[in-house]
Subunit: 357 residues, 2 copies
């Protein structure tokens, strides 16, 4: 393997391990990786039987965590280094190695186009032996699978710092909406909500907009004395997550009755619901009469942890008005497990996999 | 001077010059500097008589141009180096030196707060001899002065890559609106218009928005084959000017009857007019009955060079509905000359300056 020569030290542990020759899982293992803009999680599972129901709880051999692996954020080289290291770590912790791997599903953010997918696939091909099945997906797909336990059917809505909707039909058609980042109008995201709140403070200050409780709340928490200073604060650090961290404050202001904060959250709900509805409509997930049931997996900080003003519930209400068959799911496992279940589902469908049942 | 010791080579030309001792202007010179995000222009003028009308054309001794001097974009050190070098160059070209300078007006973007102003002032104080009068302003103030020939009265609307409105009353009160950059809602700017157009293409593609001629126009000019590739294009380079360069294309689509492009331009007009009206209202530039005349200086690519769809004219129409006394001015001199005229106006008002008349 070319890659092993270039970056051998990452895989050094395998030499000692193979001489010991007591691997954990005789039928092999599968890897699931969820690579986001803030962190990367990789999990290792034994290859489970294809003929039976999934065991509960799922058998997780090991879990490893690393930093950002979005190539748009940290560059190609750093992203690959992170991905390779976290996969090596999880295999080491599982007392396993690359020869034991049956399949890998890498679900990473920033995969927006078949060329992104192919580039990562080519690189991944150099790391693993030929028999290993490789799958590369947008991280939203792993989030969907975490709610459907590996089945690619239905829609997922992610709303954290960013937002995306992604859906699949049972016959394999897929569609996405939003997920294009703040410049390209993801206004329902955590970043979008917070940026609108900061904008509302600036507009109240310069006379373009109504006064709002957001002004004192935001200046207090950022320890600034005037809205003029918000400009310097905003551009001092381009991190989207730093701005998105203001969302709970917008929710508090809305709960305290602030009209401006309320309007921002209502706009966000409308935007998030619209992106789900676009996916459902394009895929016909709701059937011809619009009444068919379909799962909607809900993931991300914006959809969770609200008190009275519950953005997630409001989004579901909106969608329900158009598609009463929507069945909201809050996943019980993390997206990296979703990725591993995807890998398992993919190889289950391949004819030669049947021999492993 | 501390600064001379630190960065002497910039000012080396002065030693030879003072030994020759034949300076151009016996009454001294004034410097006007317009420092924007794309370029920095500095001009040198002889000190003109305070008792007479401004000569026409204005006597410009020299003009020097450099790159970006916005400290938010290139950092403090690089910004200062650029500013100092461009001032040295214009003095060298004018066959003059720092002792001959009577006043400097530095009008730079990114001055949003008194602390920004003071920091630049402190640094500038180290460069020039004590007798030199120094003024630091936001670059919008120089743009206003370029339309009013140095008089600080009325309002300026700048709409290029970014946008800002800035106004002054005759008794010295000032106010601004917008100018907070794309994160903080400057949607009427060139960047804002183009980002909305890109968003419209993404929304048409993923089913959230109506189809638009913007799709084929934008994909053609960027040489992309699918809207999915817009995400990679957008985040490959964070330059706001690169995105704002798509404005003429949005105007063409609107002129060709595209509803989505038309709506984006109408929103931009509304946003730009709102920021002017906020300044006019806060300063009472329109008088108590709303009918008083006031100049509105219009600057920047978004307000110029349109054909049938003329954003600048539409903005004026909007403002006229509220404030019929608005008197639009398209400046005949560049903002750096406006800055020099400001310096001249400032020292004219100071008691000791009278002796120079």
């Amino acid at each position: 393997m070319k890659r092993r020569d270039r970056n051998g030290e990452i895989w050094d542990f395998e030499k000692e391990m193979s001489s010991n020759n007591h691997l954990t899982s005789k039928d092999g293992v599968i890897l699931g990786l969820d690579g986001g803009t803030t962190s990367t999680v990789c999990i290792c599972m034994p290859l489970m039987s294809f003929s039976q129901q999934l065991p509960e709880p799922l058998p997780i051999l090991a879990r490893a965590v690393a930093g950002c692996s979005n190539h748009n954020s940290v560059g190609e080289t750093a992203a690959r280094e992170t991905l390779e290291q976290v996969m090596a770590e999880v295999l080491y912790k599982s007392n396993s190695n690359r020869s034991a791997v049956r399949a890998v599903c890498l679900a990473v953010s920033g995969v927006n186009h078949p060329t992104d997918q192919q580039r990562i696939m080519d690189w991944l091909r150099d790391i693993f032996p030929k028999h290993v099945k490789l799958f590369v997906q947008n991280d939203a797909v792993a989030a969907l699978a975490s709610g459907t336990m590996g089945k690619l059917h239905g829609c997922v809505l992610i709303a954290g710092t960013g937002t995306i909707s992604y859906g699949f039909t049972e016959d394999g058609r897929e569609a996405r909406a939003a997920g294009a980042g703040p410049v390209l109008g993801d206004w329902g995201s955590g970043y979008g909500i917070a940026a609108q709140a900061l904008t509302a403070v600036v507009r109240a200050h310069d006379g373009r907009g109504p006064q709002t409780k957001l002004t004192s709340s935001i200046l207090d928490i950022l320890n600034l004395s005037s809205p003029d200073e918000l400009i310097g604060w905003t551009y001092a650090d381009p991190s989207w997550a730093r701005i998105a961290a203001l969302v709970p404050l917008v929710v508090s202001c809305a709960e305290a009755g602030d009209q401006v904060a309320n309007q921002i959250l209502h706009n966000s709900v409308k935007d998030l619901a619209e992106s789900v509805k676009a996916v459902v409509r394009r895929l016909g997930l709701c059937g011809e009469d619009g009444m068919d049931p379909f799962p909607l997996v809900m993931v991300g900080g914006v959809l969770e942890a609200n008190k009275r003003w519950d953005i997630g519930n409001e989004v579901i209400k909106h969608i329900c008005e158009s598609y009463p068959g929507v069945h909201p799911v809050r996943p019980k496992v993390e997206p990296a497990v979703g990725a591993a279940l995807l890998a398992w589902t993919f190889i289950k469908k391949e004819p030669e996999a049947k021999t492993a049942t």
